[in-house]
C-alpha cells in the first residue's frame, strides 16, 4: 500500500488528496452549507462578500458558497453513477468476450467498434430530445457511450491475463469459469479497472457539466456546478465574474485531479504487470 502511494509521484499524490477532499465535500457539503442554497434575495443580486457570506451572492441573490457546496454533490453523483454503470457492463462484456474468445469475441469487437461511433454528448442530447431534459437521461446516455471504452481496454488486459499459465492450472483443478474470473482474473486486473474508472470519472464530470450547462441536464433551481456556470454567465459582462468563474474553477480542479490520478494509477497498474 505504502509502495503504491509512493509510486503515484508528487503530482499523483496531490491529485489523490484533491480527489479525496472533493469526495468528502460531495458527502458533507450540502450539510455544512451556511445558508439555504435555493432561497433567493432580490436585493442581493450580484452582491459582493459580506459578513457570513464569504463569496457573496449569485445572479438570483443566493449565497454562492452554499450553492457551491450543495452543487458539489450533484456534480459528483452523476459521474459516479456513469462510472458504476459503465464499469459494470464494460467489465462484464470484456470478461465474457475474453474468456469465451472465438466468434463471440469477434462479434463483441465489431459491436464495440460500432458503439464507438456515438460520441457521449451527442447521444445525451439525442436522449434528452426524445425523453426530455434531466440528469437521469444524461447519466444513462453517457453510460451507454462510455461502456465500449471500458470494455475495449479491459478486454485487452483480460485476454492477456487469461493466457497466463496460472489460469490453466486453475482450470485443470476443475474450478468453474465464473469462479476463476471472479476470484482470480478480475482481481488481478483490478488495478487497471480502478485506473480506468478514475479517468472516466473526470471525463463524465466534464460531459455532465456541459450537458447541464446547455440546459439538458440538471434543471434549475437545483445547484450544480455546470448549470451554475450558465446561470451566472451574465455576471461576466456585468463585472461580476466570481460566481461563474468559481463554479468553473471547482470543475477544473476536480476534473484535472481525477485525470492526473487516473493516469498515474494506470502507470502503476502497467508497471506491476
Amino acid at each position: 500500500m505504502r509502495a503504491r502511494w509512493r509510486a503515484l509521484g508528487g503530482l499523483g499524490r496531490i491529485s489523490a488528496l484533491v480527489a479525496a477532499m472533493s469526495a468528502v465535500i460531495a458527502v458533507i457539503g450540502p450539510l455544512v452549507a451556511p445558508h439555504d442554497p435555493d432561497s433567493p434575495d432580490i436585493s442581493k443580486i450580484w452582491a459582493g462578500r459580506e459578513s457570513g457570506h464569504l463569496l457573496g451572492y449569485d445572479a438570483n441573490g443566493r449565497d454562492l458558497l452554499s450553492r457551491l457546496l450543495d452543487g458539489a454533490r450533484t456534480a459528483m453523483v452523476g459521474p459516479l453513477l456513469v462510472v458504476a454503470i459503465s464499469i459494470t457492463f464494460g467489465v462484464l462484456i470484456a470478461i465474457v468476450a475474453a474468456w469465451r474468445g472465438g466468434r463471440l469475441d469477434g462479434l463483441v469487437g465489431t459491436g464495440l467498434d460500432i458503439a464507438f461511433a456515438f460520441p457521449g454528448i451527442l447521444v445525451a442530447i439525442l436522449v434528452a430530445a426524445i425523453f426530455g431534459a434531466g440528469i437521469t437521461a444524461a447519466v444513462l446516455a453517457l453510460s451507454f457511450a462510455y461502456t465500449p471504452y471500458i470494455a475495449r481496454v479491459v478486454r485487452g488486459a483480460a485476454i492477456q491475463e487469461r493466457s497466463k499459465p496460472y489460469i490453466s492450472a486453475l482450470e485443470v483443478q476443475g474450478l468453474s469459469s465464473i469462479s476463476i474470473c471472479r476470484r482470480h482474473l478480475i482481481p488481478n486486473i483490478g488495478g487497471l479497472i480502478v485506473a480506468q474508472a478514475t479517468t472516466l470519472f473526470g471525463y463524465a464530470m466534464v460531459d455532465l457539466a456541459a450537458i447541464s450547462f446547455i440546459g439538458l441536464g440538471v434543471q434549475p433551481p437545483q445547484a450544480d456546478w455546470g448549470a451554475m456556470v450558465n446561470e451566472n454567465l451574465g455576471g461576466i459582462v456585468l463585472g461580476h465574474p466570481l460566481p461563474a468563474a468559481s463554479c468553473g474553477a471547482c470543475l477544473i480542479v476536480v476534473v484535472v485531479a481525477f485525470n492526473v490520478l487516473g493516469e498515474r494509477l494506470m502507470r502503476v497498474a502497467e508497471s506491476s504487470r
Binding site: G101, G102, K164, P165, Y166, S168, A169, L170, E171, V172, Q173, G174, L175, S176, S179, R183, H184, P187, N188
Partner: protein, 330 residues
C-alpha cells in the same frame, strides 16, 4: 466404477492445432496405457509431443484443437465428459507443471492456492482443508506450515514453490498425477530433493503417474515403464530398467549415447546428427527418424513403420531384427 484394466488408455490419439490457417498435427497416433498405481515415464526431445500427450489427457488444449482417437480414464471417454463426470475427473487427475511460479496466482496466499479447489468442489470444509494442507506441506518437507500458508508465492524459492504445487496436487486425493518436467526449472540440488519427495509420496499414496522428462535415466529411476516419443509418435515402450540397459529402437540408442556420463570422461558427446523433427514436419509415408538414423535403408523411406511387439517391448522400427541394429545395442 468401471472394471477397467487400465486407469488411462490412449487409443490412436491424433491432435491437430490450427496454425496460420492450416492444421498441424502435434500427436500422430499415440497408443499408451497407464495401470492403476503405475508410473510411466514419457521421454523425448523438445517438440516430440510429450507435453501435448499430458495436456490431451487432461483436456488442456486450445478450444480450436482437433482431437481424434480416444482418451479413456477409468473406462470413460475423457473428451466427452461433462457436468459431474468432468468434475470427478478433475479431482481424480492432478497436474504438476514445469514452472511453478508461472502456474500459481502471484497475488494470492499459498493457503488460498492449496485449499481453493477442494473447498470449491465441496470435498472439504475450510477447516479440514487447512489441516490437510498443513499435513501435506509437512509431507513435502516444508516446515512451519501454518506460517507458510499465509505467505505469498514470491516469498518462497522455486524449489519450495514446486513442493507446494506437489502438495496441492495431492489435496483432493487424486488417482493420477500428470507431472510435466516437474524439476526442469529448478537448480540441480533442489531437483534431486523434489524428485525424491514426489517419488516417495507417489508410492505412499499409490498414485498412478505420467512423468514427462527428457532425462531417460531419471525416468528409469522413478518409473515402472518408459515410453520414448519422437515427432508425435511412440517409438518404444518397455519396462523402465530394460529400456535404459538394453534399448532397441535406434532413436532410444542414440538418445542414450548423447547423455553425458560421469564414469567415462569424453571430450565430445555423441549428439544425434540433424535437427529434432517436429510432429508437423514428419512424413506420413516414412519413418520420422529415418533422416537422422544411421541404420536407415530404403524400406525406412517406403512406409511408416508400425509399433510392433518385440519380446516384452513395443518398438516402431522395421530394422530391429537386422544384425547391424542388434549389434548397436552393445
Amino acid at each position: 466404477m468401471n472394471a477397467a484394466t487400465h486407469l488411462v488408455e490412449l487409443e490412436h490419439l491424433i491432435v491437430r492445432l490450427p496454425v496460420d490457417g492450416g492444421r498441424r498435427a502435434v500427436l500422430r497416433g499415440v497408443d499408451l496405457t497407464i495401470g492403476v498405481g503405475e508410473a510411466v515415464g514419457l521421454v523425448g526431445e523438445s517438440g516430440s509431443g510429450k507435453s501435448m500427450t499430458a495436456r490431451t489427457i487432461d483436456r488442456l488444449l486450445p478450444d480450436n484443437a482437433v482431437v481424434e482417437g480416444v482418451v479413456r480414464f477409468d473406462g470413460d471417454d475423457v473428451w466427452s465428459m461433462d457436468g459431474d463426470a468432468l468434475r470427478r475427473f478433475r479431482t481424480d487427475v492432478a497436474m504438476v507443471f514445469q514452472d511453478p511460479r508461472a502456474h500459481i496466482n502471484p497475488v494470492r496466499r499459498i493457503g488460498d492456492f492449496m485449499t481453493e479447489a477442494v473447498i470449491a468442489h465441496g470435498l472439504m470444509a475450510k477447516r479440514e482443508a487447512t489441516a490437510r494442507a498443513i499435513e501435506l506441506l509437512d509431507a513435502v518437507r516444508i516446515d512451519r506450515g501454518p506460517a507458510r500458508m499465509r505467505q505469498y508465492p514470491h516469498e518462497l524459492s522455486g524449489g519450495m514453490l514446486q513442493r507446494v504445487m506437489i502438495a496441492t496436487a495431492l489435496m483432493a486425493r487424486p488417482r493420477l498425477l500428470l507431472a510435466d518436467e516437474p524439476t526442469t526449472a529448478l537448480d540441480v540440488t533442489t531437483q534431486a530433493e523434489v524428485m525424491a519427495i514426489l517419488d516417495e509420496l507417489r508410492v505412499e499414496f499409490g498414485l498412478a503417474m505420467l512423468f514427462i522428462t527428457h532425462d531417460l535415466e531419471l525416468a528409469t529411476a522413478v518409473c515402472n515403464r518408459t515410453v520414448v516419443m519422437y515427432a508425435g509418435q511412440v517409438m518404444e515402450i518397455g519396462e523402465a530398467e530394460s529400456v535404459e540397459s538394453n534399448p532397441t529402437h535406434p532413436y532410444t540408442i542414440a538418445l542414450l549415447g548423447a547423455r553425458p556420463s560421469i564414469a567415462a570422461s569424453r571430450t565430445r558427446l555423441d549428439a544425434i546428427p540433424g535437427q529434432p523433427m517436429s510432429a508437423y514436419d514428419a512424413p506420413d509415408d516414412a519413418c520420422a527418424f529415418e533422416s537422422r538414423c544411421k541404420h536407415a535403408v530404403d524400406e525406412c523411406r517406403a512406409a511408416m513403420p508400425q509399433l510392433v511387439a518385440f519380446g516384452p517391448r513395443s518398438v516402431r522400427c522395421i530394422r530391429i531384427d537386422s544384425p547391424v541394429v542388434v549389434a548397436a545395442h552393445d
